[in-house]
Symmetry: C2
Subunit: 155 residues, 2 copies
DNA sequence: CCTTGACCTTCCCATGATGGGAAGCCCCAT
DNA sequence: ATGGGGCTTCCCATCATGGGAAGGTCAAGG
């Protein structure tokens, strides 16, 4: 019946075939059943799981967090507190990243406003970048490197 | 006189020695002068450049954008319009990323609020993730994959 | 029956900016 | 001269994703 190939599953769930294979290889998803020729097959329940993963991904959860969420999802007796805790960590992480990007954006907006942006060479933006003392305060606040890394959207 | 080793330059500018080497290897910075033994040496002007890079990095600019900014900085006759254009692209990029993260955060906050988070298994958060139809609208709006990738802070 | 084209498989590589760590050389102070 | 710390290069990992090659599979149509 609903024995679907990986490409079709990708189309129906919005998770690319590449990523479905990768999720399987890294253990987020259990190994798919295979046809005699070795083709992966997916049923309705698999599609449901894939959509779950897709939705969590769209909410910014890491694959690691999604693994935890999947485990809780499968455990019908789980206490909702565990789920809420994961969600709140994610919210806090998102808020931290937003605040950092917001700080950058505001600084740049201030600089861009003061730059007339014409053919003349005077440029407060470059002047700022070339200024020696950018008080170490914001720098210190960013010492958590993973933050800075993430902020720049390192892929 | 001010011929400084890479470790000292790192300490004085806030750019790690690893990254200084990497910036040189990838062409963002010109090859450093070397001692007879092959040690890199940096003078005050190099430190100035490193601080420029550091500041731009803290404002979220990509290395590619920083290369452009450096070129403009060195060209004393540049029109400030070019600099402003780069800054405004960066602002737009930051605003896009903020809006995306904000959307995720708001959705999650709504879900977390409605989850009592105690020992009972009922959980609106998991219910949402498991819901089949997350109207394709937001999904379509995100078709630009690089957006989604960045949003998750891949990095 | 055979070809064609669309699909599937695995495997390797790239991304971007960063850190970790190994193996080996260098320099200075004791 | 020895020890410890700093320097060099080179390789590997991150995180989630895509690209692409080489080769097997399948279904439709000649």
């Amino acid at each position: 019946m609903s024995a679907i190939t990986i490409g079709e599953a990708a189309r129906r769930t919005g998770v690319s075939a590449k990523m479905i294979r990768w999720y399987e290889a890294t253990g987020l998803l259990p190994p798919a059943t295979r046809s005699e020729a070795g083709y992966r097959h997916y049923d309705d329940s698999d599609l449901h799981t894939l959509r779950f993963v897709r939705r969590a991904r769209d909410l910014g959860f890491s694959v690691e967090a999604i693994a935890d969420l999947l485990a809780l999802w499968r455990d019908r007796a789980r206490p909702s507190a565990g789920v809420k805790a994961i969600a709140e960590e994610q919210i806090a992480d998102l808020r931290r990243r937003i605040a950092e990007l917001e700080g950058m954006a505001r600084t740049l907006e201030r600089l861009a406003e003061s730059c007339c942006g014409d053919e003349r060479p005077e440029c407060p933006i470059l002047d700022d970048l070339a200024t020696e003392d950018h008080s170490p305060v914001p720098r210190r606040a960013m010492r958590g490197l993973s933050e800075r890394r993430r902020a720049r959207g390192m892929v």
